[in-house]
Each structure stands twice: as C-alpha cells, then as structure tokens.
Symmetry: C2
Subunit: 84 residues, 2 copies
C-alpha cells in the first residue's frame, strides 16, 4: 500500500483571488508581515500497487484525470509506502 | 523572507464527503486500486521575519486565526527561508 500526498496550486500566471482575499483579511487581523498568500488543494490518496513506480504512475494518471484543471493548475506529490 | 507551506486536512474523526465523492468517481474512471481519498487545503504563505522561530510563530498564529477550523481540521507545515 502506498500513500500519495498531492499538492495542487495555481500556475504562476493565473490570478488567485482567494489568496488575495485571505491576505487582505490577515492584514486586517494584524498580520502585517505577510507578503503573499496562495491557496490550493491537498489530497491524501492511499492506493494498492506492486511497486513504487506503479504507484507513481497511477497517482499521476488519476491526478491528471480528476484532481487538477491542467489549464490553470499545476501539482507536485510525495509518495511513500505505508502499512495497509 | 520565509515561505510557509501549510497542509490542512480533516481530523480523522470527521467525515470527508468530498473525499468519498472523489474516490467513487475515480472508481468509475477505472482507478480500482484506490483505497481512500482525503481532500484538504494547501497554502503557500510568504512572510517577513527576523528569525525562523519568529516566522514559525507567525505562521502558527495566522493559521489558527484564519486558515483552519480548529473543531474539524488539523494542519502541519513546512517552513524554509527564501530570497525576497
């Protein structure tokens, strides 16, 4: 069994209105040292696979198939073997 | 300047309907080896601080003040020094 941790964020060229709203709110709350805020999605996915390479391939395929919008989002992931 | 990466997920005891919906959809798409899916939030926060400890304290305070619901969510973070 493998655990994939997928981090999805907007591509640098894409406006992140949610991040801007959060940054403004943090400023109002007194967190004046915040320079920028980006918000994205985070997934923890457990999957069965024979090898780590097989798990990585599955993780990339399912991420591109369902978890991201390839036009506006990019992703990275960590992958580790875990007990069932 | 420091870059904090904050990973927010539901506490284990909290139902994750979004994760269940994604898992079902992945099954329909043929990803039958997926054992579980959890969805959370991911933040990248750049902030000015004199020391790494000061940056960590700020990051924890602003996360608990605005980025998570302490009743249902938990978080972890990575923190690194970056050029401005």
């Amino acid at each position: 069994m493998y655990l994939g941790k997928v981090y999805v964020s907007y591509k640098p060229s894409v406006l992140d209105p949610q991040g801007t709203v959060i940054q403004n709110k943090l400023g109002q709350l007194g967190f004046a040292d915040v320079d920028s805020v980006k918000q994205g999605k985070y997934f923890e996915i457990k999957l069965k696979a024979d090898t780590k390479q097989d798990a990585a391939t599955q993780l990339e395929e399912l991420t591109q198939a369902l978890l991201i919008n390839p036009n506006t989002e990019t992703y990275r992931y960590d992958l580790e073997e875990v007990s069932a």
